[in-house]
């Protein structure tokens, strides 16, 4: 069926099977490959996107659930994501980098809802995202750094 997906502010007219998960519509139909496939069953967070600002495992929602909503992926830009990117860079966080799209989106969602998260807040918010390389220590530190960067700037 023909639908419109709004991703990072751009409208995409696409033809999809109606039960296709959002992840595959983003990757294979629209062609934005920054959002990753990791498990397909909402266990690893590699496919994390924001749908109308809400953190969503795109492998486990139908593309139809995202119609007429604003989808935000790692290719997008937001104030919090920019600070997080800077903090990720300052902390040399990634190893293989594959899960980091999802990590950054999950962290964006966290900062969108909690201005200054504690370690505990970070544990709660980020434990749905697996990093097999094991960069958790750096991710946690980078989220705190992003908050500092933001406070210094604003």
């Amino acid at each position: 069926m023909d639908i419109n997906l709004s991703i990072n502010g751009n409208s995409h007219a696409v033809q999809v099977q109606e039960d296709m998960p959002l992840l595959w519509a983003i990757r294979d139909i629209v062609g934005l490959t920054g959002t990753k496939f990791g498990c397909g069953v909402s266990q690893c967070g590699a496919c994390s996107v924001l749908v109308d600002g809400r953190l969503t495992k795109s492998c486990s929602v139908s593309v139809l659930d995202a119609v007429e909503k604003e989808i935000f992926t790692i290719e997008g830009n937001s104030e919090n994501l920019e600070f997080l990117r800077q903090a990720w860079t300052d902390g040399n966080v990634p190893q293989c980098g594959y899960c980091q799209s999802g990590q950054l989106i999950a962290a964006t969602s966290l900062l969108d809802s909690i201005e200054k998260p504690t370690d505990k807040d970070i544990d709660n918010a980020m434990s749905a995202n697996i990093c097999r390389c094991g960069t958790y220590t750096r991710i946690k530190k980078a989220i705190h750094t992003a908050v500092q960067l933001k406070n210094q700037t604003l």
Partner: protein
Amino acid sequence: MSSIQKIDRRDFVKLFGLASGGIILGCSVASDSKGFIPIESKKGFHPNLFVHLEENGNVTLIASRSEMGQGIRTSLASAIADELEADWQYVSVVQAIGHEKYGNQNTDGSRSVRTRLEPMRKMGATAKIMLITAAAKKWNVAEVACKAENHFVINKNTNEQIFFGDLVADAAKVAIPKEETVQLKKVEDFKFIGKTLKSVDLKDFTHGTATYGIDVRIPNMKFAAIARSPVTFGSVKSFTKNNAEKVAGVEAIFEMPRLIPPTGKFFGMLGGVAVIANNTWAAFQGKLDLDIEWEKGANENFDSEEFKKILTKRVQKTGKLVPGVRGNVNTAFDTAAKTIEATYHVPFLAHAPMEVPNATAWFQGDKIEVWAPVQDPQTARSELAHFFEVPIENITINVPFLGGGFGRKSKSDFVVEAVAISKKIKAPVQVVWTREDDIQHSFYHATSAQYLKGSIDKEGNLSGWLQRVGFPSIVSSFKPLSDYASGFELNQGFTNNPYAIKNFRLESVKAEANLRIGWMRSVVHIHSAFGINSFVDELAFAAQKDPLQFHLDLLGEDRIIEGKSKFPFNSKRFKNVLTTTAKMANWGEKLPEGHGLGIAIHYSFYSYVATVVEVSVIERKVKIENIWTTIDCGLALNKDNITNQLEGAAIFGMSLALFGKISTKEGAIEQNNFFDYEMTRMKDAPKIHIHIVDAMHEPPTGVGEPGVPVIAPAICNAIFNATGERVRSLPLMDLGMV
């Protein structure tokens, strides 16, 4: 690289003309052993490192090793840039295709820096000399009157300076300096080496723009999923397409026979039923709708719990003697004040890199092009030439980023699958494994059983050590009926036991392979470090000694053991990492109630590692509080990268200690996905403290793997310290302790 000039093999570094302006320097690195996977080797000069200097000043390094998170692209580049006196902002990295001209590209064994640092430095230094020579000519001064600094050559007399890029054309005409005249920088003068450089790929990693294998897109490409036999090496008896054909987007469904590799090399592919679609998800859905009856084959009754019992039984009885006996263990046992014995287990494990195995291939009759996240593109290339009878020079393997590798992507089975499908459908295709495929059809880290018996003499010293070990050999994946661990496997911690033990005996027992066996980050060291460190802790307790002191006593006098390699074992360096780590962890100080410290040391990939873990145990549930690790890896090329690798190794080691278990029933893997093959998550992650020993005058040794083996035994020793409960069988989850 078509305009390669005539090569004189006696030269170390070579200049290659380049039409586009600029120069390319290439050099050859002495081949490092490929181990047991032979590939085509042809005589001749095969430079495997290349530096490209352009007139705009850009310096491009062609990275011949795959990037899978170990930071090799950055590390390799930094060594050249340092000797070249380059400005880091001009440096970029291009990934090499899989080609023998790059020398051995097999990215495993924690050896990329170990084998390539010096040649990289020499090449950078060579380029610098050529630039200086060109500048000296321009100024009509002696070369010694010039120096290179931050991408300029400077006239020391006049302080005039010329940008590197402006010298490239003239430098290309300069005779290449002889290897022996190329002087390398002193450690004190390093600008990048031994410092911290951030990954050259951070921008792509943080914007979703890094292209991993699974992100490769070719015009008109199809997507494929394959249903493989749940039992290893089973085959399709019959199948019905069922509703698979009706899934929108599915275009073709067909059976693929298994491709069996020739004895001694390659990986082949498992075969099964392939579903071809115009998107990944349709292929996945179509696969789920197939109805397949499998011919289960020889492994249909394989039960990993039964196998554990069999191995346990075997290690209780005398096995095959492994060379290297010292003294007489029986005499030691007979005259001992105390003997203790214990049996340890590690289950099968899967690598589970975040990016599942996948490959994109385009078979075009007389040529093949592949884009695949492979650790060993040359074996993939040779393997394709073998199976598809296409001349190897017509096969191109492009290597995108690997979303983790850990050894899984050393095996090219998924590449063979993609080419087989592309050949059949006459179109480019991307084969994507589901996570379930990845967990259930891996080349598994072997399960093992170990029996240890040790004796304590009247003075409380270790007097005898008997160790029997059994695990399915990696060699079984290349040579059927390889039922005993091979020498190179036992040499990962068992035969090269670092302790000064007078009476020592090692035996190996039979262990058949009923799954595909492969290597996973730190390989057999996972077994040896677990058995040996756990048992040393048990011996220390039996001798009523502090485990730290007991380890130090066992390491004995300072001694250097020369091996076949150029990296002699130095017990002093081992003792140093041990005492350093103990100090960091405040070893010996009183801990809160329910907390415990455990220690483990291990020597692997020529690096010395010691770890102390602090756990807290409440109602038999274990929480890892702190991990302290010290590594002596000789010259530390990129410090923050090494720290990152060791932090990651701690988490990787935790995952296998806490959750790691692949089991089989009736030949089929029981685990499916991350919900039943779990990983350490943020909430479980402890505080991790890494120290890198300053050993800048020693040659560099392994980094990617050596941090893993120590973690599981240090955790289990800490649990014993906290509770008195001894864990001898992994993972902790099986014991209800997670």
